[in-house]
Every structure is written in C-alpha cells, then in structure tokens.
C-alpha cells in the first residue's frame, strides 16, 4: 500500500500486471509456440524437429487446402452480408422505435448466447429438416419439389453461421445508432430534409463505425468456424476450421495445422490493424459486448 501511495504511477501497472501476465502466458506464448511449430517436421510419435527450412510447410498447406480457405472466406463474407441485412433494420428499430421495451429487445438479441452453441446449431437441424415446419408445408402445397432439401447444403451452413454470430453485428450497430444526437435529426427535419434524406446524410454516416466494427466481429469467428459446416453441411462444404481441427485432433499433423491456423491469425490481425488505422480502436474495443 505504501508504495502505491508514494508513487501513483505504479498503481495502474500493479492492477494490470496479473491479467497481462495471464494473457502473456496463455495467449501470446501459445501463438509464438504455434508459429514455431509451423516450422517443425516429423510426427507426434517420432518427435518433431524445428528447422527454418520447413518454411515450405506454408506454401504446401496453402496449395493443398486453398479450396477450403477460399470457401471459408466466401462463406464468411456472405454470412457477414446476411447478418448486416438482418441486423441493421433490427438495430435501427430497437434504437429509434424501441421506447421502453428497448432493454427487453436487446436482451432478446443476446438471449441465444445463453443457450448452448452446439444445441442451437442442432436446433436448426430440426427447423430446416426435410419434413420440418418449413419444408413440410411447402412440399404439401407443392411450392417446392418433394426431394428439395435445405439441410446439408451450403445455404444451411451459411445461414447457420449468420445465425450464430449475428449478435456481434447487432450490438455495435445498435451502440452507434443509439449514440446519435436526436437533435441532429430534428434539425434536418426543420430544414426540410425528407425522411430518406436525413437517414442517408445523418444516420447512415454516423452508423458507419458500428457497421464496420460489427462486420469485423462477425467475419472473424465466421471464417474460423467449423461447427456449422460439420453439423449442417456436407463433405463439399468443408471449411478451413474443419481442416485445422482434423489435422490437430485426428491426423495429428501439427506442423501443417499450425501453419494453417497461423495464416488464419495473420489474416485476422491484418483486418484488425486496418480497422484501427482507419477508424481508431475506441469503437472496436468498446462495443464488442
């Protein structure tokens, strides 16, 4: 206590130290180790050895799994767009028309987080199933062919991903919309701006940081996901996450797996850095929840 009182500059350091050490040991060190492991060769049983000459692990892995990489980026991108299309009107409604129900509505948005991620995804199996409440009536009415399927298609995988990560899109957009000074909109109205005009020239520009933060926070878990592809897809919808988890946990080819996941990490860090550079870090680090 005495030290703190005499030298207040120490206080934040002391408060931060335990948490930072934990992150250094279990976030930074593992990533450094994973980077090192990507230069290994050998097997788990025979032992791994490190050599810089093994840099070829990277191009090898990239060539072998480029299809899954590209598919992950594609699915992640489409899912993020889908999230945006669903999230923006919903966030807008809650922020501007929510009134007293606002907190309840926000709670409903995060409610999916309180049920098991796996079971939620399996829940989609029951909803999208071949004779489910969606396809069943459509087939009975003859709207779709009797052999039509949603389950085990790319559409099901993308819809599942979008569903699982959409709160990450809604919350930042909501925060940025909620912050908008309502007097700006009144002023626009006084100056005879149309509803669309004030939306386009005031609301939309001010919501941009939230939209970008949301897109980033949705895209990141989306491209790394493997649960949706495994539970809702078919062998043709395999994503890079499926490959990484298989290589690590089944094949135990650690060097290839490490190279694959390190490249994923770099891709994401580049995205975060770009965002921080363009829009600052405040919006991103404060609206994640």
């Amino acid at each position: 206590m005495g030290l703190i009182r005499r030298n207040p500059a120490f206080t934040p350091l002391l408060l931060l130290a335990p948490g930072l050490l934990w992150l250094a040991a279990f976030y930074v060190a593992p990533n450094v180790q994973m980077f090192a492991s990507s230069f290994w060769n050998g097997t788990l049983e025979g032992g791994f050895s490190f050599s810089l000459a093994n840099w070829t692990n990277y191009p090898d892995a990239l060539i072998k799994y480029q299809e899954q990489y590209l598919r992950s980026i594609e699915y992640g991108f489409v899912a993020t767009l889908l999230c945006f299309a669903i999230a923006f009107p919903l966030a807008y409604f809650i922020a501007f028309k929510g009134g007293r129900a606002r907190n309840v509505l926000l709670f409903l948005v995060v409610a999916p987080f309180f049920t098991s991620y796996l079971l939620r995804t399996i829940g989609w199996r029951t909803i999208l199933g071949d004779d489910s409440i969606i396809l069943g009536p459509l087939k009975a009415l003859g709207v779709v062919a009797p052999e039509a399927r949603i389950l085990d298609t790319p559409f099901a995988v993308i819809a599942g991903i979008a569903y699982n990560f959409i709160p990450f899109m809604i919350l930042p957009i909501y925060v940025s919309l909620e912050k908008i000074d309502r007097r700006l909109l009144e002023a626009a109205q006084d100056l005879y701006a149309s509803g669309w005009g004030s939306f386009r020239r005031i609301t939309l520009p001010l919501a941009i940081p939230g939209v970008f933060a949301g897109s980033l926070l949705t895209f990141i878990p989306a491209i790394g996901d493997f649960i949706n592809a495994e539970l809702l897809g078919n062998p043709g919808t395999t994503m890079i996450g499926n490959v990484i988890q298989r290589q690590f946990l089944v094949v135990r080819d650690y060097p290839t797996a490490a190279a694959l996941s390190f490249m994923l990490m770099i891709l994401i860090l580049a995205g975060v850095a770009l965002y921080a550079r363009l829009l600052g870090t405040e919006e991103l680090t404060s609206t994640a929840i």
Binding site: I86, F113, I268
Partner: protein
Amino acid sequence: MRVVQRVANFLASHLLAVYAAVALLYLLAPIAAVTLFSFNDPVGRSNYAWSSFTFDNWLSLFRDPTLVQAVGTSLRIALISTTIATILGTLMALALVRYQFRLRKSIDLFIFLPLATPEIVLGASLLTLFVTLRIPLGDLTLILAHVMFNVSYVVVTLKARLAGFDMRLEEAAADLGANPLQTFWRITFPLILPGIAAGALLAFGLSLDDFVITRFNAGQTQTFPVYVYLKVQKGIPPQVNAFATLFFFATVTLVAAAALLQRRRANLSK
C-alpha cells in the same frame, strides 16, 4: 379485397416493425426448438423429429451418469475460471478507466485481441503449447484456457460500466479522511459491483458453453458441450435438451433479477 388492401397498408406502414419481429423470430427459433424438444418422446435414438409430448425427459434428468458428470464438470470449471477471470479483469478495467498512462491505448487493444482471434486459433495454439511443455490435458488446462478468454470479456463489459463512474466520490472520501483501502471497499466497490456481476455472469455463461477451445484442450475430461458433440452421431438423449433449457431459463431469471434489483436501487437513490 378491402381486407387485403388494409393488410397491405398496415404492413407497409409498419414494415420496419414487421421486419424487426421476423428478425427476432429468427434469433429465437432455435431456442424454441431446443426447449420444445426437451418435451419430445423421440422414436429411435435421434431427437430431430417430433413424435409426442412427454414429461419423461425432465423426470429422468439424471438418468445418464456420464451426462450428469459432464454437467458437473462444466459447472465446476465455469465457477473456478469465472472467479479468477473476474478478479483479474476487474483490476485491469479499473486501471484502464481510471488512470492515464503511456501505452494505455495499446494495452486496451492488446486485451481486445483474444476476442478478435477465432476460437479455433486460440484452442489450437494452446494445444501446441501444452503439448510442447508436456502439460497433461484435463481440468487444469481447461481452467487456464477459460480464464484466458474470459478475462478480456470481463474487461470489456466492466469498462463500459465504469465509464460513467463519478471520480469525485472517491476524492470526497479521501477528503473526509478515508485511506485508499477504505475508499475502495466503501465507495468504489459497491458502486462498480453491478458491472462486476454483469461481467462475471457473461464469463460464466461463456465458459459453460465453450466448445471449440475446450475440445482442443480437454484431454479425457468431458464437459457438457463435449458430451453433446460426442453424442451427435449416436443420437443426443433428450435429457440434454432439458439441461440446456434449464440453463437458459436459469440465466434469464438471473439477468432479469439483476436488472430489477438495479432499477429498484436507482429509484431509491433518486
């Protein structure tokens, strides 16, 4: 025809509300499905198709000892990791919100990074570290991992709550002769407690539900999500749905109670 016209007019003028309602339905549909199927009496092993209503699954909640054990393990790991993460995270959030120092922004971004890293990378990198250091996988590695990802969530949640904190209250306490320790326990802590509780609740939920990182670092330990995953192929027993429903409504009750308590307190202080 006039009815159709009216319906069309109503929809057009309430387009946004209708859209929002549909979006919320989309968000809540799988939860409804999970809850509904906890009352299903499945034919065969898989619990995907509705057959008939029953309370059986709720009455035989503890039938499978492996499932009960997995739930226990999940709760234990969530409790321990939440406690550690909440303490570490609260200290960090206090430092970030209340002090100005060099590198504050960089540290802020650094703490955020684990949230911006795909879970599969977090899980895989921890596995390579544990394997290299020959640390046996199990409860210990799971706790280390869960604290790691939860610390950042606690910090972010608390930072948002601390932003409106009136520092003059602490100055007033100091002026009245309170030492820093007294000031913290009597002034600061009670005021930030709701924020800490919110962060802890989030951490607990995330730990309970984590599958990806857990899958990589669990070894032979079975948590609830791992149990569910291993059962996907063979058919998930409907008791799993009952447990998930139980967790969900327990959390909802807790959150609602916390919100009501806070509102009442805010009304009292007015």
